[in-house]
């Protein structure tokens, strides 16, 4: 295989693994718990910015970019910081918006939050360098490993795979547990869940923060890979790409949403990259958004449960009637 091909494939795998992480987090919030988080990409963005500023080193006068909280934390602290920062933001947003509002209003709040966050990051230039964003984010352990760029790519892909497996196991432990069942119950009928004793506000908040942490970690790993991060990287439509992956693959089915990630953010958006340019520069990119929207609509219309629908819990049949104590 040529080096260029290897570069391309390793990059694609890294994107795939990072997107799977992000989609697993959104699936937990939306597919399992029914929280309509249209601001999901904001938490990815916060994770990315946090990892960037704590690894870029302190800002100094005359620097070509300006940012807050500059530091040079060693690997893997920037990734953890990204998760923690996104989790904290989730906690604040969740406490404000998830307590009393009805879910349709929550969805509106999230969408608005996404727009506001972009405006703040773009206009408060001292925060994370405004619209130009941050660049030259150091790749973790690049100097220490002493690999050539291609080797480093493969190592990074392995690192992403490792993290993705961790996230998958973490998420699956939730979805397979009584907690996952209670979350699905809350999604299906919140009033009834609270009437049988479930603290739905707390459950929503917990899962909103957990999803936020996963989003933050995926953003951190992504920014450290591409070494740059700007408001253009996390515009609100990006959330809908993730959402499309969840809906196409099958909400509340972890394997389903992994397939969805393979199909939508990676397969669908990547394949169109090779189309010959038609009409004008940027036409294909614009059409991508149209197609993502159409894809969501088509699936909601014709296959609302996705390719792999949610699987209800199955239980071993009762051993025998005799095994129970006689009364």
């Amino acid at each position: 295989m040529t080096d260029a091909m290897q570069f391309y494939i390793s990059t694609l795998l890294i994107y795939l693994f990072i997107d799977i992480m992000g989609v697993l987090g959104l699936n937990l919030q939306f597919g399992v718990a029914g929280i309509i988080n249209f601001a999901y990409i904001v938490f990815v963005g916060v994770g990315a910015y946090t990892a960037a500023v704590v690894s870029l080193g302190p800002d100094y006068p005359g620097n070509f970019q300006h940012y807050m909280f500059g530091a040079s934390w060693p690997f893997p602290l920037p990734i953890l910081a990204g998760g923690v920062a996104a989790g904290l933001l989730s906690l604040v947003v969740g406490v404000i918006s998830l307590r009393r509002l009805r879910s349709d209003y929550q969805a509106m709040v999230m969408l608005v939050l996404s727009l506001i966050a972009t405006l703040v990051a773009s206009n408060a230039t001292g925060l994370v360098n405004g619209p130009a964003g941050l660049a030259t984010i150091p790749q973790p352990l690049y100097d220490q490993l002493g690999l050539n760029p291609l080797e480093y790519q493969w190592v990074y892909a392995g690192w992403c795979l490792f993290l993705t497996v961790l996230v998958f196991l973490f998420v699956r432990a939730i979805t397979r547990s009584p907690l996952g069942r209670t979350l699905r119950a809350m999604r299906d009928n919140e009033r009834a869940a609270s009437a049988v004793g479930k603290n739905v506000t707390l459950l929503r908040l917990v899962i909103f923060v957990v999803g936020g942490v996963i989003a933050g970690i995926s953003g951190a790993v992504f920014a450290e890979f591409i070494q740059a991060w700007s408001p253009g990287s996390w515009l609100y439509p990006e959330t809908f790409v993730f959402l499309a992956a969840v809906l196409v693959g099958g909400a509340a089915n972890n394997w389903g949403v992994i397939l969805g990630t393979l199909l939508v953010p990676v397969g669908f958006l990547e394949a169109t990259r090779f189309l010959p340019p038609i009409f004008y520069q940027g036409f294909i990119e614009a059409m991508q958004w149209v197609c993502v929207g159409l894809l969501i609509l088509l699936f909601l219309w014709f296959r609302p449960n996705g390719i792999f629908p949610e699987k209800p819990g199955r239980f071993k049949p009762r051993a025998t009637a005799q095994s129970r104590p006689a009364e």
Partner: protein, 256 residues
């Protein structure tokens, strides 16, 4: 000599208005332990609002509710459920994409695998607790002859089966009192008769209930005493035979 029934729930001068509309306007009554208290009245009398206030879904503007000797006014629904009072809803409220068995399991109290930490500690930590809950849920299914439906998605059940599922699910919490909001609405007569018998059995085992119901024949068979509401107030209390003869009750039903 029959033991004097003890009041388990006391509703005292409860009020709730929506703008100018006084949905519940100073309602007071008490429900006795081990009895099915009927709550009847014409449409718009405030029965469902009152049930919602007792269950914690609706906050009252004034008044107090005492359950089992403790004040529960304005508590969140899950806390009221934790105290042993669980309600069902006028419209079916099943967890549609969960199986019948899962619907019951959700309601099991104090599940080990229901916290984030518990879930992450895996089946090794919560497996035994879960197995015990599955057994308990299957006992409930057996009792209500719903065992064949165990793996059916709750959303696919008939209207009557959904109502029964809701009662079974409430029982999983080991309640001391049920609030039933029109438990027979949309249930075919055969199943309705069966549910009636189940409720009577539960009552005989000591479970207290409050039941909102429109079908007066059903109320007469099950409920003692009966509380009559009209225009947000309790206008009469007593046995069905007594209240149905009273002028204010007849007026309310005719005018209402």
């Amino acid at each position: 000599m029959e033991a004097q029934p003890k009041p388990i729930l006391a509703v005292s001068d409860v009020r709730r208005d929506y703008g100018g509309l006084k949905a519940v306007d100073g309602a007071s009554f008490s429900a006795m332990q081990g009895r099915i208290t009927g709550l009847i009245g014409p449409n718009g009398a405030g029965k469902s609002t009152l049930i919602g206030i007792i269950g914690g879904q609706i906050k009252p503007n004034a008044g107090s509710i005492t359950f089992d000797g403790r004040d529960i006014t304005g508590l969140a629904p899950h806390k009221i459920a934790g105290r042993g009072m669980v309600r069902t809803f006028q419209l079916s409220a099943e967890f549609t994409k969960l199986t019948v068995l899962e619907n019951l399991l959700v309601a099991a109290p104090d599940q080990k695998g229901e916290s984030l930490l518990g879930a992450e500690l895996s089946r090794l930590y919560w497996g035994r607790n879960e197995a015990a809950n599955v057994d308990a849920a299957r006992d409930v299914l057996d009792r209500f002859e719903m065992t064949p439906k165990e793996d059916e998605l709750a959303g696919n059940l008939s209207g009557g089966q959904k109502r029964l599922l809701e009662i079974m699910r409430a029982l999983m919490t080991k309640p001391t009192m049920l609030l039933l909001d029109e438990p027979f609405a949309g249930v075919n007569p055969t199943l309705a008769r069966q549910i009636e018998q189940y409720l009577l059995d539960l009552r005989d085992e000591g479970l207290s209930m409050i039941m909102v119901e429109h079908e007066l024949a059903v109320v007469e068979r099950l409920c003692e005493p009966v509380v009559v509401m009209a225009q947000g107030k309790v206008i009469s209390e007593g046995s069905m035979r007594d209240v149905s003869a009273r002028k204010e009750v007849l007026d309310a039903y005719l005018v209402g």
